[in-house]
Amino acid sequence: MAAKKLNLKDKYKLLTRDLDWDFSYEDRKQAFPYEDFEGIKIHDWSKWEDPFRLTMDAYWKYQAEKEKKLYAIFDASQQHNGHLNVSDARYINAIKLFLTGISPLEYQAYQGFAHVGRQFGGVGARVACQMQSIDELRHVQTQVHAMSQYNKFFDGFHDWTHMHDRVWYLSVPKSFFDDARTGGPFEFLVAISFSFEYVLTNLVFVPFMSGAAHNGDMATVTFGFSAQSDEARHMTLGLEVIKFLLEQDEANVPIVQKWIDKWFWRGTRLLSIVGMMMDYMLPNKVMSWKEGWEVYFEEAGGALFKDLARYGIRMPKYAGVIEKEKEHVSHQAWWTFYTYGHAAGFHTWIPTDEELDWLGEKYPDTFDKYYRPRWELAKKLEAEGKRIYHNALPQLCNTCQIPLLFTDMDNPTEVSHCVTEYQGDKYHFCSDGCKDIFEDEPEKYVQAWLPAHQIFQGNCGGPDIPDILKDYYHFNLGADNLDIKGSPDEQRWKEWKKQG
């Protein structure tokens, strides 16, 4: 008997999709209990289009080939002191931020996709989520292995998971993912698969990985290339999720729209650290944050939302505000880190004169007018031996947890500050976007673990800030923090370069 030829779709369907069955002995709701409470209506899971039809044997094979190549590069980099090839010691601080701020999110993605990969009623959706789950585990682990080398030669990497759970600015990424994972399974997918992976991922991934490429960081850029095909799969899943939800029931549209509004805003707030990294932390620049935003969001995202209009989905709320923010956020964020450089787990510095000129060119409407004068002042004070360090604990936004550092975008000298009341208490926000999110689910956001509040309440040791930094955050004071000038990182770097 000659075997019938099967195409990929039919083969995948036969091998995978028919594995589940209608229960006869137990209530299916007990096995898959979280599918209903968000109000999303799914009528027919069989309408799910598998975004990538990868069977496990093929998965093992392809991924193993990728891992083999990747680890060969890691080994070579370690053997040949690859860390000496980066553009400058300042660059290393970008990947400190990556390991402490982003890699733990990859881990949370692994956990979140395992959760939904267990919970969805449809086998096609479950398997796609499980595959993303194990991919995300790959990402955190390969990142740790890539950074392992840097940890041996630079400060600030040494206690990355401990710091992620505690350090004030790291509560921004942590709360972002905690928020997504504590949401229902469908919100998680709209938040992470669609809003983050599909719409915004290019703005995290491309800047960091291109930054690595432009700055001689072989280990990180190789990881980036190696993860690219995983990311492509994740993006396909993100798009399938949104189409599936919108096609299943019209009543899903307003729920999905609300989540898109929320997660788009939450995502862009998170990206302000990426903006600052691109504009200030890379000795060899890739492109400005503003350019990145225009290419990856305004052009690509604009086309996407046009496409989604037929389902009744519109552009995310506050997209207009964000368009104005691209001129400002990176400058405001780096200035904040510079002035709180004693409380950061990485080094900060004043941009060089060439960099100030570059920023002026890239931001012709705002930089020279609003931000260059600050740096000129900082330079003057530094020359007088009075480098700026602010000591007061900042007021944090109750939603995104970023200090109130962003200005009103129409009035860039005035800090934006919104307030709302809930059960007799006042809550503070950086923006209307963050206030809206709180007001929609106040009972969730009142739980937020706000680092400044926690310090005031004595939950982070102390009593003095240096005690907290040292004992609670595990910073090596004088090594991990403060200006790059005079830091042990800088001294060692100069020493190595002299030897070379």
């Binding site: 075997a3 069955w21 998965y59 505690r166």
Partner: protein
């Protein structure tokens, strides 16, 4: 003679990450250690899960088992993602060769009718059991505590999806890619009285709340019995009834079981030896599910017409294994 290549040596300022220094001292750590220890968030969670408001996002209380340090449940295989996929890629290459050979020589042609019918009725339906095992292990990965055990549970979950797909391929080899044998096997799974006990058991296992209990039920009780009955005893029966070549197609499952048992046993042994309370708890689960799974499997075993003593022998194997880990 040896040739020495001169390389520049730069002294590192530390050997590894601080969490590993605290655990093992300041010495170079393995990739398994760096990828595993303390990677999961421990504290300061921002919000309670909407789907489980009485628990933290990562919460030790999703099982009644208590461990001083959840990272003591380490994997003797030292699997992190990279070592896991490379090991499985080697296994799948071997399996691929076996399947290709079987198909090229059209060995299905040589199967006796008895063997062919029994494969469709008794082996191919296991894809649904494997699918359950996939969910049960992903459950442990999602709700378990500490990367050491949760990553290994995800690896196991993905393995089970792979095995379900291999079993499906056996079906497709038998029916010339029409999918008829898969439908017939599912029909058996859904309707034949011999399978209903096992199907009910699978459904039941998906409603167990304590993830460690699920692990005991699935990875110890069901898996040991299933391996012994289907991949050892039934394999023997096939050899004696004109189906000896099928062993090529199930070699992966036997290799996988050998590999995975090392991990399952290590985890159980560690958890059981942690405290008398753990021992008692796990013993209770084991005792409860052992009898029920045997009961669920008895009709299939009878229907398979294999050795009458097969179920007893399988049970002895299970008890021996349990005794080895302290149960």
């Amino acid at each position: 003679m040896t040739i020495e290549i001169k390389t520049a040596t730069i002294e590192p300022i530390r050997s590894t990450f601080a969490n590993l220094q605290r655990r093992f001292g300041d010495k170079p750590a393995s990739r398994y250690q760096e990828a595993t220890y303390d990677v999961q968030a421990e504290t300061n969670f921002h919000y309670r899960p909407l789907w489980q408001p009485d628990r933290l996002l990562n919460d030790k209380r999703r099982t009644a088992v208590v461990m001083e340090d959840w990272y003591s449940l380490k994997d003797p295989r030292q699997f992190y993602y990279g070592s896991y996929v490379q090991q499985r890629a080697r296994m799948q290459e071997q399996a691929e060769n076996n399947y290709a050979f079987f198909e090229k020589r059209d060995l299905a042609r040589h199967l006796s009718d008895d063997a062919r019918n029994s494969l469709i009725r008794h082996l191919v339906p296991l894809r649904h059991v494997e699918h359950t095992a996939n969910l049960n292990n992903v459950y442990g990965s999602a709700y378990g505590y500490g990367t050491a055990v949760t990553q290994a549970m995800l690896f196991d979950g993905m393995d089970r999806l792979g095995i379900a797909q291999y079993l499906s391929r056996i079906g497709l080899i038998l029916d010339g890619n029409t999918g008829e044998s898969l439908s017939a096997a599912k029909q058996s799974w859904m309707q034949d009285s011999c399978w209903q006990g096992m199907r009910a058991m699978c459904e039941k296992s998906l409603t167990v709340e304590d993830w460690f209990e699920t692990f005991v039920l699935q990875d110890l009780v069901i898996d040991t019995l299933m391996q012994e009955l289907f991949y050892v005893r039934f394999d023997q029966w096939l050899s004696e009834h004109g189906g000896q070549d099928v062993g090529m197609l199930t070699e992966f499952m036997r290799d996988w079981y050998k590999d995975t048992s090392r991990w399952v046993d290590a985890v159980l042994k560690e958890a059981v030896s942690e405290s008398a309370a753990n021992q008692q708890l796990i013993q209770g689960w084991f005792g409860n599910w052992r009898g029920r799974v045997v009961e669920a499997l008895a009709p299939v075993v009878a229907d398979m017409n294999i050795d009458d003593a097969a179920l007893d022998i399988a049970l002895q194997t299970l008890d021996k294994r349990a005794a080895k880990v302290g149960l």
